[in-house]
């Protein structure tokens, strides 16, 4: 009698366990789509925006594709690969999703791609993760990325600052992890080819608060500082750099001068005017399709960001790709998703930021926007589009063998010595 509860628990656990694994997909059943974003921790706001992008794509299809209802399963990570993996396992192995969309950040992406190798029956599409290795190093047959990655995001920036801004010698200051390495590679490839030189590469640990030693070491004979940092790091650096009398203009990485930085309090923001950067979208892009998408976002999410961010964009594009391809094949998921994957491979996807296709590694070829921080005349700052680089691929236009011969982006790759 005393032990009854334990026995009942065991029995119900057994019963529960037995019901799992009895469901299989049929043509008239709903399509199960899992979405994984970071809804906990420091990137929670980004994860929410990613979810908004996902919801917009599902909404565009009115919640059904090829006559089959879309059943959405959500999961959250805290931006660590451990938690992303754990959430992906739940979606795939417990909720038995057909398609998984996510995750949000770079190292999570590599973890999920590795997991995709183990789960060939599921088709994975990226969320907004942007590590180079995800699709370039041991890519998974069933992992598609219709969004661009860190190296691609800086395409055109090196050319722009060399030719338009006239910067010939820069110092690089970056946070010490994989995303900045990739961005630096994208920047240096063009900048150094044109004849620009890099005086020094300086790395600071994430969440550095004191930049005095870095600023003291900053070379004097430079035209600009290329800063690949984000969040509080760039704000702290900027404040201390100004206090110590620094005057060199900045060039920004893709997350260095986003709207959160531009709207941060402080008298130093005007210093940022004229800072060029590049990335997968730009707030004031006046293409009608982009404007319509932006308005739809504002309409659907009155309490969202003023304009859809990088994360909403990436999740939207990837989800849109999945749904468009599903529609094309009439929701057919037989033969290990063969038809769906063919459709994805050959898709010419119309997105708010131009046509996107994937290459043989299932990595997006898409347009990149070059922007410059400008004043809106009312005290606010925004990123003004100054150029669009069309059809940027993962190897930045180089033949793949030549590009790969240089190795993956790393702390000391590309080496600074070859660019001095």
């Amino acid at each position: 009698m005393i032990h009854k509860p334990l026995a009942t628990t065991a029995a119900s656990a057994l019963a529960l366990a037995m019901t799992i694994g009895t469901t299989t997909a049929h043509a008239d059943e709903p399509i199960r789509i899992g979405v994984l974003a970071t809804l906990e921790g420091v990137f929670a706001a980004s994860g929410q925006d990613g979810m908004r992008g996902f919801d917009m794509a599902v909404d565009r299809f009115d919640g059904e594709v090829a006559g089959r209802e879309i059943q959405v399963y959500r999961a959250s990570s805290d931006a660590s690969p451990d938690s992303a993996l754990s959430a992906a396992r739940r979606l795939v192995e417990n909720d038995e999703v057909d398609i998984l969309i996510g995750p949000l950040s770079g190292s999570e992406g590599i973890a999920v791609k590795n997991y995709a190798h183990e789960q060939p029956q599921v088709t994975f599409l990226n969320g907004s993760s942007a590590a180079q290795e995800t699709t370039l190093d041991n890519p998974a047959e069933n992992f598609f990325r219709f969004s661009t990655e860190g190296v691609q995001w800086q395409a055109g920036l090196g050319t722009y600052v060399y030719e338009e801004k006239g910067y010939e010698r820069v110092a690089i200051l970056a946070e010490d992890y994989s995303f900045p390495y990739a961005q630096i590679m994208g920047f240096m490839t063009e900048f150094c080819d044109l004849g620009g030189t890099v005086a020094e590469k300086m790395f600071v640990p994430l969440e550095t608060r004191d930049y005095s030693s870095v600023i003291a070491r900053m070379p004097q004979d430079i035209d600009a500082i290329y800063t690949v940092m984000g969040g509080s790091d760039i704000l702290n650096f900027l404040e201390q750099y100004q206090q110590m009398g620094g005057e060199a203009p900045l060039i920004g990485g893709s997350i260095a001068v986003d709207q959160t930085i531009l709207s941060a309090e402080g008298p130093d923001r005007d210093y940022l005017i004229g800072t060029p950067t590049s990335g997968p979208l730009a707030d004031d892009w006046d293409d009608p399709e982009f404007v319509a998408w932006q308005e739809r976002y504002q309409e659907m999410f009155p309490d969202g960001l003023g304009s859809p961010g990088l994360f909403a964009h990436a999740y939207y594009v990837n989800t849109l790709a999945a749904l468009t391809a599903l529609e094309e094949v009439g929701g057919e998921l037989g033969d290990g998703h063969e038809a769906l994957r063919d459709a994805l491979q050959n898709l010419e996807l119309d997105t708010p930021t131009g046509v996107v296709q994937v290459d043989h590694n299932r990595q997006a070829i898409a347009d990149i926007f070059i922007t410059e921080v400008s004043s809106d005349g009312e005290g606010g700052l925004y990123n003004r589009v100054v150029g669009v680089v069309e059809g940027v691929n993962q190897t930045l236009g180089f033949p793949e063998e030549e590009f790969l011969a240089n190795g993956f982006a790393a702390r000391d790759n590309p080496p600074v010595e070859e660019c001095q």
């Binding site: 366990a17 037995m18 694994g21 690969p81 754990s86 973890a111 640990p205």
Partner: protein, 348 residues
Amino acid sequence: MASVLDETPRTNDGTLARLVRSLRWYYVAMIAFLLIYPLITGGFWTVQIGAQTLILGTIALSLMLLAGYGGMVSLSQLTIAGLAGYMIAVFGGASGGLGLGWPPFVAIPMAIAVATLFATLVGVISVRTEGIYTIMITLAVGMAFYFFVLQNREIFNAFDGFAGLRPPLVLGINMREANNFYFFCLAIAGFGYCLVLYLSRAPFGLALQAVRDNPRRMRALGFNIQAHRVAAHALAGFLAALGGMLLVWMNGQISPGSVGIAPLISILIIAILGGIRHPVGPFIGALIFVLLDNFAMQLIGGDRFNTVIGLIFLVIVLFSPDGVLGLWKMFRNRLRRQPQDSVESRTE
């Protein structure tokens, strides 16, 4: 714990015979259930729920040993587990040519040894403090370790950490296979459970509990209380290191996020939730934690799932300071009262 002590006949015959006699039917049922569990469930339930519960339970068990028997609440148990995981990557090698690439039979014992040594050091530092100060000092150790691995590139590979970590082949058995991995975790967790249960009655464990209850008297009796506490830290560190080894193999990777403040506190939550009076507590706590962590989002959806997790924890701790174990005891006592009064005349 008290009930286990009381129900065991105090005879002087061999340990094995005593063990067999103390086996109740629900132990047998539980063991049988744990053994057939992976055979009736799929990969997700085997690894993600089953193995993860056992792994987190083992790490929380090390905290239960310190807090329950020694009265020392340490927040750095996950740090020690994380160090063991990191050392497995550093000594044994990880993807991308990182690490030293030593063979597993050298790398794994070395990793466990380094983590145990570190736990001993933490013990040496923290045993002179009491109560909340122990918590503070071990929290400081945990945070220092987190920022160190985040910013140290030479050894710990900074933000990126190590990936591609897989259990080695042991005697030709593929530990990467879900069921084998589960049984391996079960073996380690079972070992830890029995060790801690044994300790509760071994001279060392009894001395440790006495130190917890009255350090001054123990000192007057000639016991070296600091040495007992440091030894408890070393032993708990060893258990945590075993858990850390399993954790890193389950996740296949380790990075600063694995040893950040959130997982650090999770271990404390697991131990408190389950109860720190008996070694089964941490495993119960881990099961609840893992289930909530995986399914809370389906219960409520949207952005508020963490609120649900928090509320459930709050309710359990509010109604029973001793965690689920305390609830169970309360429930049992209430059930027992009626039949006992009339039928049995048990003294408790």
